[in-house]
């Protein structure tokens, strides 16, 4: 989970794109996937995200994202299958519950849509340094620095808390507490009390962070920004491609 949201440091073309362009890509691709109902289009978009992941050298991490989305999508697909009984019947899963051609087609569409629409969001976080996102949010989107900082820092801490939780679960397992159970109900019951040590250590950490920020002059007045967010021809190209994809989704339908 943490790996889906953590920034991976690098110096690829994608890394160097303006963060707003990447944000735009993530959101417009998502919208395009919901506009279109064409299987090939969605597959194409999905493959394009793989290309982006590869050029950003985060393919290994991205595999986890695709896998998670695939599982989610598969569950959605099964669920949808049960509710689409029209069309030519292929076989019956249960008495009265047919698997039809239309059912298969529609549920496959949903799965592809889920994967193609959501993977850019995760990839964007993997390929954009927090600082740039922050600068983009404050300068261009005119969000007050304090709030932008809160959002960005919360994201930055998710992997930290996740690691902390792992440590806590390991510590409890070593006491005979079965956090390594496969039973999902038991797992929830077992993990819930773990939130207490996580909360306490997190609060402590956050307090240190707040003090550290105070001693670094946080929010004491007007702020300068070291990096000016540039806009290169790559950014322009990226925007054109994203717009084209959106247009295509509307045309193809």
């Amino acid at each position: 989970m943490k790996q889906m949201l953590e920034y991976v440091h690098g110096d690829s073309v994608i890394h160097r794109l303006n963060p707003l362009v990447k944000l735009l890509w993530a959101f417009l691709t998502c919208i395009a996937c919901f506009i279109s109902s064409n299987h090939l289009f969605l597959l194409g978009v999905l493959l394009s995200t793989v290309v982006v992941a590869a050029s950003g050298s985060v393919l290994a991490r991205a595999k986890g994202v695709y896998k998670a989305l695939f599982i989610l999508g598969f569950l959605l697909m099964l669920f949808q299958l049960l509710f689409t009984p029209y069309g030519r019947v292929y076989f019956y899963i249960l008495p009265g519950v047919p698997v039809t051609d239309q059912g298969l087609s529609f549920s496959l569409l949903l799965m592809l849509r889920m994967m193609a629409a959501l993977s850019p969001l995760s990839l964007m976080l993997m390929l954009t340094p927090m600082n740039e996102l922050l600068t983009a949010m404050t300068h261009t989107l005119r969000i007050p620095y304090r709030y932008a900082f809160v959002v960005v820092t919360a994201l930055r801490f998710i992997p930290t808390f996740s690691r902390e939780m792992d440590q806590i679960m390991q510590a409890q397992r070593s006491r005979g507490h079965e956090t390594d159970t496969r039973n999902p109900f038991k797992k929830v019951k077992v993990i819930l009390p773990m939130c207490i040590p996580l909360l306490i250590s997190s609060v402590r950490r956050i307090e240190t962070m707040a003090i550290s920020l105070e001693t670094r002059g946080f929010n004491t007045g007007p702020r300068s920004y070291r990096k000016k967010l540039g806009f290169t021809r790559f950014d322009a190209l990226a925007i054109i491609i994203v717009m084209a994809v959106l247009l295509l989704s509307i045309i193809i339908g």
Partner: protein, 275 residues
Amino acid sequence: MISIQHLTYRYDKKAPLILDHINLEINKGECVALIGQNGSGKTTLLKQLNGLLKPTSGRVTINGLDTATTKTSALARHIGYLFQNPDHQIFCNTVYDEIRFGLLNIQCPPEEIHDRIKRIAGLLGLENKLTRDPFTLSRGERQRVALASVLVLETDILVLDEPTTGQDYRECVEIMEIVKDLNRKGKTIIMVSHDIEVVADYCERTIILHQGRVLEDDATHVVLRKSESLMLSGLEPPQIIQLALRFGPLFQHVRSPEDMAEAVAACAVPGGVRV
């Protein structure tokens, strides 16, 4: 007791080897220190002992149980593991409940629970704190609560991951004295520590791990004199031994400041101390 044969470990197929063909035997009643640089594989090796991590190849046997096929929660009856940060282990509302938690997990008979808790609390000086919320205690006291909750499981083996980090010297000595006492009564102790003085004072056997391999494995007073091996691991011998080594064979049996003072006295004035 603990048998490690040709143990290798890596996170997944493409990751580098973290543990590289480790062979070790640890016998009942030993007090062993495991030292090495960060990244040498110390914590990984410890986690292999109680099954938190399973071997990629090779075998780890604890009291005859193969860790690869036994759940960690089951191994908890044989091997107690104290984590570096006590706050990762504590979550109950009272010290009493905290110590009881582990006993419930291993299905200890209800009649025995109360007695065991009282005994352990007495051992660690926590009798008056049983009704307190652990998070209102000082860090040193919380470390003792965490230790109590592990000791109450009455395992043969105790593994300690940096038991003295983040504490002041007094708290550190308190914990180590308790550990040493347990060792004298027959518990096997394995300890990871960065503090070379603690290692010198409390452990008879020391293993240096370097890049996933066992670099040294011998009696502590022998290992701590091997400056090159220690330097390779980013460590230095304890001060007194560093000093002794500068004089060649003259002070080769010195282990503590007291030994050194005696040896110097013997050399400086033939026949003993000057009046």
